[in-house]
């Protein structure tokens, strides 16, 4: 059945390293969201796209985070350089109205 996939599922890295997370939305979904979830802040929207164009990335720290959709089947979220405070679970979701979440990438920055 159709589902959102994310890679990697887990990532441990050292401070200062570049991290790239990938998401494959459900085929036919033209709206893609990136969320970050932490115990302290809860579930926060970082950015979202419609037909591959960024609509809103106001939730994203601009100096180190970037999000792109190179094509309709791939969304990427990049952190460069990573910091310990970026440790969180990052979810990708697709859909309009009902959002289908991927399994998430658990990022630990040491």
């Amino acid at each position: 059945d159709a589902r959102v996939t994310q890679t990697p599922r887990h990532k441990v890295t050292e401070m200062g390293q570049e991290v790239t997370m990938r998401c494959q939305p459900i085929l036919g979904h033209n709206t893609v969201f990136w969320y970050r979830q932490t115990m302290m802040q809860g579930l926060e929207l970082l950015a979202y796209f419609r037909n591959r164009a960024p609509l809103d990335d106001s939730g994203m720290p601009k100096d180190r985070f970037s999000a792109e959709m190179p094509d309709a089947t791939l969304a990427t979220l990049k952190i460069q350089p990573s910091e310990p405070r970026d440790s969180a679970v990052y979810f990708c979701a697709s859909g309009l109205g009902q959002q289908f979440f991927g399994p998430g990438t658990r990022l630990t920055v040491l």
């Binding site: 709206t31 809860g42 579930l43 926060e44 929207l45 979202y48 609509l55 809103d56 979810f91 309009l96 109205g97 009902q98 959002q99 289908f100 979440f101 991927g102 399994p103 998430g104």
Partner: protein, 114 residues
């Protein structure tokens, strides 16, 4: 601004009922409800699009009071499978159109015990 959910946590015995509330300081276009089990992704339950609208998912129902800018989730005759954290996601009302961008509440942790 993040919608406020109450209570923050609730423990129920199987078969009991619960109500989870979600309040926003902004005018709302819609309210979405999701459930997240530990270690898993949030899963969609329902959307409420109109003031006063009520929706149902199995034995879970919800209402949306547009004027009060709040929504309530009602869990009836709770089952063990209902355990998890419930999030409301609110969509702002702007210039007559929703913008599809959700702001999630702080969550309500529901534990069902046998």
């Amino acid at each position: 601004q993040q919608p406020v959910q109450s209570p923050q946590a609730v423990i129920l015995r199987e078969g009991e009922d619960a109500v989870i509330n979600c309040s926003s300081s902004k005018a709302l276009y819609s309210v979405h409800w999701y459930r997240q089990k530990h270690g898993e992704a949030p899963v969609f339950l329902m959307i409420l699009l109109k003031g006063g609208e009520q929706m149902r998912h199995e034995k879970i129902s919800a209402s949306f009071n547009e004027k009060k800018q709040q929504s309530s989730l009602y869990l009836t005759a709770s089952q063990l499978s209902y355990s998890g954290t419930y999030f409301c996601g609110t969509e702002d009302f702007r210039w007559g159109f929703g913008n599809e961008k959700l702001t999630f509440g702080t969550g309500t942790r529901l534990t069902i015990i046998p």
